[in-house]
Amino acid sequence: MFELNEFILKKAEELGFGDVVVLSYETNRRQVRFANNEITVAKHWHERKVELFVEKDKRIASTTITELSEENVERVLKTLKKNIENLSPKEDYYGIAEGPFQYKDIPETFDKAIVELDEPNDYVEIAINTALSEGAKRVAGVLYTDHNRLYLTTSNGVEAFDEGTGIEISVRAFVGDLESGHGTCSARVLKKFDPELAGRKAGEIAHMAKDPVQGPEGRFDVIFDPLAFANLLSYMGFMLSAYAAEAGFSFLAGKLGQKVASELVTLKDIGNLPNGYGTRKFDDEGVPTRETTVIENGTFKTFLLNTSLAKKYGTETTANAGLIMPRPWNLVLEPGDYSKAELFSEVKRGIYITNVWYTRFQNYVTGDFSTIPRDGIFLVENGEFKPIRNIRVSDNLQRILSNVVAIGNEPFQVHWWEVSRPVITPYVLVKDVGITRATK
């Protein structure tokens, strides 16, 4: 699609636009949804589209073009020009990256076997059957396969191509109405895909969660399963964007260089992570993706930036464009040195939370929020697991990060409905977490 990109760029320059970014996608995505041990629907999406960003005298506009004929492209460009002519400028716009750049192949991001995979339903059956064999009665979930081609051309000398694949599954298993477990597996190459692992975890937790009793409230040491902690960290992904901080959606606003988490917490965004579900060779303005440490031993080091926001703050881009809104690629919590068993043995009386959902903030700038444990929840007492239910984590995100007292040594990649940007995290132990419950 580079020819189309070039055509768009040429026409945009003829119309007098300054910065121009043309990002074209060709995607093939398959989905198999299942519930009650059967497939509810199977889908396929084939899409070709162009995301277009243009600038003229600090006036900016963006659009997505799906009808890719030359006539339509010209019509769209003229519409953009007409629309921004009398529009107020974005005074804090400072341009896009100067290319060209060199790009390296990132291992484990493309697998021909996924492109050629004819029928993924066998994987669904493996996941369902594994969960059933662990004691589940009902199994639900979703499987995806992905094949994406990305073509980037900018007015600043960038021409870049990336091709990627992926396969992932999310499995939720039920024993009764109140007993459930969840497991996921996301991989960019087929040999790292393990639907059995996801099904087994879902089934095991559901089985362990049998006959739960009403949980307690108060402050507890909590072990967050990677699935649960990834959910909390996914909100960090949003809050780390400099754009979100300016707009009033981040407790990190004004905290650069300050302590925002426990010494044990080192959080990175890694755009070029092998096998990362969010991995790409370059960001939306063509800067090669890289590893950026955002929190180092508890100290907040940098927001995620694009070129314009970086210039505004007198620093360098972190290769996280989003031309308007920077965003993370793969958020990674550095592993600690606790084995899973050691982590659990640290807890005399605490709670093991295997999954959460519906995280909502009372106030983004202070970080006050609550979230609901879903699937198996266990009171952990001297190594014993007692299933509980109906509790809520009600606390503050910075406080949670500051109270991290131990981190597991094995990271897991989490990417599912609740965690739309991938998060890689181990098990995490947090002290004094606020737990509430309905009292009527």
Partner: protein, 472 residues
Amino acid sequence: MELLEFAVEKALELGASYAEARYEEKSGTHLAMKNGSPEGIGIEADRGIGIRVLANGGMGFASTNVLTKESVAEAVKRAVKLAKAASQVRNEPIEFSDEDFHRVSYKVKMKKDFRDISPEEKLEILRKIEEEVKATGANVPMRYLMYSDQLWKKVFVNSEGAYVKSKIPRVSVVYNLVVFENGQMEQAPFVQRAFSGGFELIEKDEPWNWAVKDVKALKRLITEGKKPPEGRVDLVISPEVAGIAVHESVGHPYESDRIFGREAAQAGESFVKPDMLGERIGSEVVTVIDDPTIPNSWGFYLYDDEGVKARPRYLIRNGIITEFLTNREYARKLGQRSNASARAINYNREPIVRMANTYLAPGDYSFEELIEDIKLGVYMVSFNEWNIDDRRYQQRYIGREAYLIENGEIKYPVRRPILEITTRALWSSVDAVGKEVEFYPGTCGKGEPGQGVPVWMGGAHARLRDIPLRRP
């Protein structure tokens, strides 16, 4: 639309027992302003066709945005193939309820067509919010404002004779405001005003007045706010709070796909079971209706995305569970007819069971009558943090603007009163409902891939007796 008819015929030829094709076109603009600075304009022009089929009892869906006969034929082929393969991992075939279908065309008129209005003029709406917020004298260091409009055009055909063409314009303003006074911070995030119709509706609604009301309330909360009472008190909830409560704890658990477990891995299941129809869930004064047909509502439609004619749905009548939200698949399982709750957010999404405009129906109390005999209580006007478990039973709402009620009078603002309660307790505690109904817009999330559909939530004021309130 010849391509749609072609798609349906082709699917039947390939062995589908049922086929539907939906063309959708969405065009519009969005503008944002961050702390007084315009962020540029986004222009949307998206269109495509989605095809859904049943074959051998399995369901397949495929979509394309390349609108040629070849591309549509390819999508149809894929949908039928996927349905057949899926049928092999099924315990029983999917079947649809019998329905009456129509050939109809409808549209929502715009008095002021937003396509004729310049981006700069649209930006003026956001500027006006900026100016009015500043004029309050409150310190509001973070201000994020968004305007958007969108014209939705749709054509739906199916193999059973349906042909539904619609044109619905939608306009919306969203704001996030952070008030910082005396070293303290309060926030009104993602507040939305939104309608189906023309630009005149947003102008008439005057979103700047809503923003000013929020800013003044938050400033007063900081300067005069006290701790809310703790323990068992009476609680009066506003139409806005009643709206989120009916949406979360009535609308969602009554979605039949959730009741039958289809959403189990994503949006969750339901505490409601099919045999709970006719069971009491709330007091006599609680009636909850979901009505897609309310003119100019954010959740407006007259025919759903399976071509079925819409009507008001009485989810709870006088405290009794009376109806679930259904599409054709689950209406069949329930031995009923569909009540037209199937919605898809775009051509590339399957229609699934959704709400539209859900509200607590009015009672016969004036606001004064609701509070006059409350000795000690709280009036919760708006909320921030809220959530509910995936069976829709354990929920929590935290007040943003809220006041103490003492001896029948509204007194000073109280900070963050927390209502954490079960669904049954919530609706059983209501002993009186106000006369006036108001609606508030929202985006209801469900499905995978996610489908955020526009909905209104609302109702009348309601009084809840003997409620355990918490403090942060």
